[in-house]
């Protein structure tokens, strides 16, 4: 029995890794991903560098000092021109726009009758910045009327940051929860992607056996359940092979890209498609200030051992549950186009887990929604992993929640796999029937 399972796993694995499109994807994907990242970083850099020139026709007695060049706007001042002349010059000099401040007796009135002329609809960041300048001046002016001097005003305006500390007296820093959830999220996201891609492989492989009509030949030699299990394991091994190649080659490529293009990856923050490993930032240790040191310490303090062990637990159980559902779907249909109605309900909990994770776990890792979804078996592999970087026990996930979630997952695993196996063994011998949910429930009783 065991050797037959081994044979099936071997065949499924080889069939997958020898497949031409699989090989192409394995080679191309890292190139595409790294290419995308480099492109995004490059575009972001270009975008940042652009400074727009705005000409100013200021006929009032105000705003003489306020319009200082910034990162995104520089100003050219026109004097002694009419508005029409200023517009024409702005146009012919191809400046971004013309700011017109008419001669008015008060700041209030001058501001209210000012105009920004541009060729097209102006960029929001430009209008925001200009509005900020006016806003500040107006506030200063109104306060001055109430008897507040400009010096007093600027002291009031000083930005404020609250001092942070843990109960143990260590200095704590902002954004750590987000970083932790982000790292957990990376693991969760990897699980989701793996399930969707390789679950699909399992499904297509089942459909292929049905359409090529080999299925009856095979199951006259082996148990349908053995075949299903062999398929799931074989395909996941192929998936792990592919994932490993991706991670290794993408890291290598990324390293090369950083060396060649000198792109500052830290500017990308959240946009990276690859789950950021803890080592990502380490190469810049030299330039780190004390705050960076604190972040590094927090990342270092994440219970990596626990995280990796639980990643494997949740990954294996979650993948087995979902891929056996995929196998059942493959068995129920005759071709891939019929799978849509069944696929959506599977992807739904996965998507939900990701969204709940990013919206709820980020802000409150131990709130009721985060707890609920990290216990519910269809979402726990993703949501629990987002909570786990906080550790287990005090300040992290309570131990009972962790154990309950794993137990629920194991129970669900046995339930779902046996249901899926029933649908599978009936479905693989059914041809020419477009199955409905009602039909599937009937199959469970055969």
């Amino acid at each position: 029995m065991a050797s037959k399972l081994g044979l099936i796993i071997k065949r499924e694995y080889l069939a997958k890794v020898r497949n031409r499109s699989f090989i192409v994807m394995t080679i191309l994907s890292p190139l595409l991903i790294v290419g995308m990242i480099v492109l995004i970083a490059y575009l972001a850099k270009i975008n940042d560098d652009e400074t727009r020139v705005v000409s100013v026709l200021n006929e009032s007695a105000f705003f003489l000092d306020e319009l200082k060049p910034s990162k995104s706007i520089s100003y050219v001042h026109f004097d002694d021109l009419t508005l029409q002349q200023a517009k024409d010059s702005t146009n012919s000099l191809e400046y971004y726009g013309l700011l017109y401040i008419p001669n008015q007796p008060s700041v209030e009135k001058a501001a209210n009758s000012s105009f920004l002329f541009t060729k097209d609809n102006p960029n929001t960041s430009i209008t925001k910045e200009l509005e900020g300048v006016f806003q500040k001046k107006l506030r200063q002016d109104r306060l001055r009327k109430l008897g507040v001097s400009p010096e007093q005003f600027s002291s009031v305006e000083k930005p404020f940051e609250i001092n942070l500390s843990t109960f143990e007296g260590e200095k704590s820093i902002k954004g750590v929860n987000e970083i932790k959830a982000f790292i957990g999220g990376g693991f969760g996201y990897a699980i989701m992607m793996f399930i969707i891609i390789y679950g699909g492989f399992v499904m297509r492989s089942v459909i292929e056996e049905k359409t090529s009509r080999i299925i009856e030949v095979i199951i006259s030699s082996v148990e349908p359940f053995q075949l299903m299990l062999g398929k799931i394991i074989g395909n996941s091994l192929a998936g792990i092979t592919q994932f490993s190649i991706w991670i290794v080659s993408a890291s290598a490529l990324m390293f090369v890209a950083v060396l060649i293009f000198g792109i500052d990856l830290s500017s990308l923050s959240g946009e990276s498609a690859i789950p950021a490993g803890p080592m990502g930032g380490m190469s810049q240790l030299g330039a780190m200030d004390s705050e960076m040191m604190l972040y590094a310490k927090e990342i270092y303090d994440i219970p990596w051992g626990l995280l990796i062990v639980s990643f494997f637990i949740y990954f294996i159980l979650g993948y087995l549950i979902y891929s056996s559902i995929y196998a059942a779907i493959g068995a129920a249909v005759d071709n891939e186009t019929d799978t849509q109605q069944f696929i959506f309900p599977i992807i739904l909990p996965l998507m939900l887990a990701i969204y709940v994770g990013f919206f709820s776990v980020f802000s409150n890792p131990h709130g009721p929604i985060a707890v609920g979804f990290s216990l519910f078996p269809l979402t726990s592999p993703i949501v629990m992993l987002m909570r786990l970087p906080g550790g287990i026990g005090e300040g992290g996930v309570p131990l009972w929640q962790f154990i309950t979630s794993v137990l629920l997952l194991i129970i669900t695993f046995f339930g779902i796999v046996s249901l899926a196996a029933k649908i599978y063994r009936t479905g693989i011998l059914m041809y020419g029937k477009k199955p409905t949910y009602k039909e599937l429930i009937k199959w469970l009783r055969y």
Partner: protein, 312 residues
């Protein structure tokens, strides 16, 4: 008599649909046993139960005297009606895989595959992919894979579909050879020509029930209805001859072949009358043909199925 397979009161239903009701069969060793029936009669359901792909709701099955168990998978070879192979897998690799799933060792499977590939003249296909082969070629591979592990019981479900006449003949000869070598064979089909040629025993399944079984020659005898086909040389006056005959005998149909100058007719004769009609005919004319019509398997099939349907 020694039986390779005995089924006792086997019943199987899917929800409200009954696929098999109380089927009992005895399949003798070392013969070709035809499992006949219209589409949807329950043949495939029965075969799937023998192969342990599905299980009966009630009833028992014995293989070689032992209750059917998973270990018997290795002693059964099954060529399903819905058959195929992995399209993108190489012929040799695939045959090895399927043989190993039946419990053969890799080296043993290789030796026997070589023998069969040479025997059917397809030695150079080993490294081809199935998708490069024609349908008939793939069927040959399928056949080899079915018989490779030298099972005691072979089950062929519509084995000749997909073969051209030449290859169908090759396969037919191979099946007969396997029988000679001592294999018992169940042959499921609704194509009656091949039944006449191959089967010694048949069972007829219709609407989930067995309505007939036994030795084909016995069944044919039982279905004989004393009808004779007669052809005589035509003398000048056919009408008079026909008239005299009709007075004495039960003529079922007749026709006059003017080109060959022959009168053909069908007559039903109780055994006592055969001598009488021969005397009458030999006096008046030359007899070209006089033969008893033995019902073909096809006639029996249609007759039994129809009478069953009308009886209900």
């Amino acid at each position: 008599m020694d039986h390779i397979l005995v089924a006792k009161n086997v019943t199987k239903s899917y929800g409200n649909y009954t696929a098999l009701s109380n089927i009992s069969l005895q399949i003798p060793k070392n013969c070709i046993y035809g499992l006949l029936g219209p589409n949807g009669a329950g043949k495939t359901s029965f075969i799937r139960i023998i192969n342990q792909i599905t299980h009966q709701d009630s009833g028992e099955i014995f293989l070689n005297g032992e209750p059917l168990a998973p270990k018997h998978i290795a002693s059964i070879g099954y060529l399903p009606e819905e058959r195929g192979l992995y399209k993108s897998m190489k012929v040799g690799e695939q045959a090895l895989y399927l043989a190993q799933l039946k419990g053969m060792s890799k080296s043993e499977a290789k030796t026997r595959l070589k023998y069969w590939f040479d025997r059917l003249n397809i030695g150079d296909w080993w490294d081809k992919k199935i998708q490069e082969l024609s349908k008939g070629m793939a069927q040959k591979i399928q056949f080899i894979v079915t018989v490779l592990h030298e099972p005691k019981l072979l089950i062929f479900d519509e084995p000749f579909s997909g073969f051209d006449p030449i290859n169908a003949n090759i396969i037919k000869d191979e099946i007969l050879q396997l029988k000679e070598n001592g294999t018992s064979i169940i042959f499921s089909t609704h194509r009656m020509e091949s039944v006449e040629e191959l089967c010694e025993y048949i069972a007829l399944i219709h609407k989930s029930e067995k309505i007939l079984d036994g030795k084909l020659s016995d069944i044919k005898k039982a279905y004989k209805n004393n009808i004779f086909n007669v052809g005589v040389q035509l003398e000048s006056d056919a009408e008079t001859l026909l008239k005299t005959l009709k007075e004495k005998f039960n003529i079922l149909s007749s026709d006059i072949d003017a080109v060959e100058h022959q009168l053909n007719f069908k007559v039903q004769l109780p055994s006592s009358q055969t001598g009488e009609i021969l005397t009458v005919l030999s006096k008046t004319t030359n007899i070209n043909r006089f033969e008893e019509t033995i019902p073909s398997a096809n006639d029996i099939f249609i007759q039994t199925v129809n009478s069953k349907d009308n009886g209900k």
